[in-house]
């Protein structure tokens, strides 16, 4: 795009490209072939939207598994999977998920003799179902929300996704295996510990937007300072601190490294997954990735401006693509974390949450309240607003970190 056209575009009243409403228009066009019965058209349109979500995130899941394996390889100076070829074509091994799917489908489904058969079957199904529920309320674009502007979208999201830990507990309990049960207990302890900071840092976004509707929270961030600097929550002191806490808590909620204690291959032999094989095992992975993507989507919505473009003139790219890009970027950063950090010990996990994240999240709540209170300060007061807010974000972090890590390191290695 030429600079002059760019300037002209920015000064105009927001006109969005026809791509913006494309999915909705397409759905309306398809539905118009049906007989004019209201409930039938409504049902078909809803099903179409569900199918779209399932297809997009199903394929994203497939590609994320292979991307994760390839990236982990590169992070450790390996190649990662690169062998699978279809009809002699080898696209850097990106056909791997399809080979994995065929393998998972053709493997024997083993159920332990002493297992609770019903729960054992139900657990992976529940996990996927609960993880998928979160997608129902995420705003994917300006015109794209599955449940529309559900007023209590945020509440719904937390209610739905935290139920996935219940599915993990079901798996651990029904396997009748001590490792599985240990892992299930770890999963529950982790859920209780990290749900709290996760909720506490979501509250400020709700406070400042004045609504629990996720679409409303996105719209409250859909503005630009001078057309370039977005009004995303992450670019405020409370938002930055909140996004960091949210990031850590989301890693823990989705049972990802360094918080993969419930899985813990090296200690409790994959925990609740121990007694699963074949496609049930694959379903657990699917649920885990769906949950991760949903949490990343929520993080994008709360702190990264959801589907809004980072600059005003970039709005010609449809909003749902922006959302997708941000979501993938967050998930890729999860993979980076996984490649870098080691698994925490149980007591470290608890301490990090209760003694560090929860107090900081509470302080952050006050910080956001101050930010809201000082929203009409100007001039020198504006600088004071930023200084006070930054101080409130950073000083407790440093103080708390110093007291918590006192006497813990650096470790002196002594050899016998």
């Amino acid at each position: 795009m030429k600079p002059c056209a760019l300037a002209g575009f920015a000064s105009e009243a927001p006109t969005f490209s026809s791509l913006e409403a494309l999915p909705g228009d397409l759905s309306d066009w398809l539905v118009s072939f049906l007989p004019d019965i209201e409930w039938l058209r409504w049902l078909t349109a809803s099903l179409l939207a569900i199918v779209l979500i399932l297809t997009v995130f199903g394929l994203t899941f497939a590609m994320l598994t292979v991307t994760e394996r390839k990236l982990l390889g590169r992070f450790q100076n390996r190649y990662g999977p690169n062998r699978v070829r279809v009809f002699g074509i080898r696209v850097f091994g990106f056909f791997q998920p399809f080979a994995d799917a065929v393998k998972a489908l053709t493997k024997e489904d083993i159920v332990p003799a002493a297992a609770d058969k019903v729960l054992h079957l139900l657990a992976p199904v529940c996990l996927v179902a609960f993880s998928l529920l979160g997608f129902a309320v995420l705003p994917y674009g300006r015109e794209m929300t599955l449940l529309g502007n559900l007023d209590a979208a945020l509440l719904f999201f937390f209610a739905a996704t935290s139920a996935s830990e219940l599915a993990i507990f079901m798996a651990g309990w029904s396997s009748r295996n001590k490792y599985a049960l240990l892992s299930a207990m770890r999963a529950l302890a982790q859920l209780i510990s990290y749900e709290l900071p996760l909720l506490l840092v979501a509250v400020p976004a709700v406070m400042l937007a004045g609504t629990l509707s996720l679409q409303g929270i996105v719209l409250s961030q859909a503005d630009w300072l001078g057309g370039i600097l977005p009004h995303w929550n992450i670019l405020t002191p409370w938002g930055f601190a909140g996004a960091l806490i949210f990031y850590i808590a989301a890693l823990a909620e989705s049972n990802r490294c360094p918080f993969d204690l419930p899985e813990g291959e090296s200690e409790i032999i994959a925990g609740f997954l121990t007694e699963y094989s074949g496609f049930k095992y694959a379903l657990f992975f699917m649920g885990e990735y769906f949950g991760m993507a949903a949490l990343a989507g929520l993080g994008v919505t709360l702190f990264l401006g959801g589907w809004t473009a980072p600059c005003e003139f970039l709005q010609f790219i449809p909003s749902y693509l922006w959302f997708y890009l941000k979501l993938v970027a967050v998930v890729l950063s999860f993979m980076w974390m996984r490649a870098t950090l080691l698994r925490l010990r149980m007591d470290q996990l608890m301490r990090l949450s209760w003694k560090f994240l929860v107090p900081l999240a509470l302080v952050n709540l006050g910080n956001a309240a101050f930010w809201q209170f000082s929203s009409n300060w100007e001039g020198a007061w504006l600088a004071a607003r930023w200084a006070i807010s930054l101080a409130v974000a950073i000083v407790p972090f440093l103080l708390l970190a110093k007291t918590l890590t006192a006497g813990l390191g650096p470790r002196q290695y002594r050899y016998a």
Binding site: R74, F75, Y79, M337, L341
Partner: protein, 196 residues
């Protein structure tokens, strides 16, 4: 400061990620079927029999002394010595089988062999679809020319060749000496050599 360790770690993994794309030296993985491993000379898989000359069976160095058969810890070698029509030993194997599904690659057979006949191979791709027949190697499968031995272990093969040539020379000298001393006393039976 608290948290800087994580940033350092992230920097290191990011360096690996970028580095692995533009610096192939970082990737130590061997892409096996396309890239063949360069085996060290002393690599060993399973035993094979060395033969000299053109004919694999006639040129075998093996004399069917059965030392390897007796020494083999898992007893995977089976030898039947060849006899002529009078029942006299012909100093060559009629049957020489090695069951490589049993062989543990200990190299003891190669070490005890006094005739430098049995050596350890470099060939490691032995997967087959039938473990009872295709993993039981017979005389014909085991016999490999001396030139092959040279190609896989040049240093050792050269030393063996020199040693064999030396032994041959000494044997010829002894034979010549014996012929010289034996001439004046033709009555001495050949089975009783002079005290050496």
């Amino acid at each position: 400061m608290f948290g800087t360790g994580i940033l350092k770690g992230l920097y290191i993994t990011a360096k690996n990620l970028v580095g692995s794309y533009h610096d192939p030296e970082r990737l130590t993985t061997e892409q096996y079927p396309e890239e063949r491993p360069k085996l060290p000379e002393n690599f060993r898989s399973f035993p094979f029999l060395v033969f000299d000359g053109e004919n694999a069976i006639d040129g075998l160095r093996c004399t069917a002394c059965k030392m390897c058969e007796k020494e083999c810890p898992p007893q995977c070698i089976y030898i039947v010595a060849d006899r002529d029509e009078n029942g006299k030993l012909m100093k060559r194997p009629k049957v020489f089988d090695i069951d490589i599904s049993v062989c543990m690659g200990c190299q003891i057979c190669a070490e005890v062999c006094p005739f430098e006949s049995i050596k350890m191979d470099h060939h490691f791709e032995v997967a087959t679809d039938n473990r009872f027949e295709k993993l039981l190697l017979h005389r014909e499968d085991l016999a490999k020319p001396n030139s092959y031995y040279h190609s896989i272990r040049p240093t050792e093969a050269a030393a063996v060749d020199a040693q064999l040539a030396e032994e041959k020379r000494k044997a010829e000298e002894r034979a010549a000496a014996r012929a010289a001393t034996a001439k004046p006393v033709p009555a001495t039976p050949p089975s009783n050599p002079p005290a050496a």
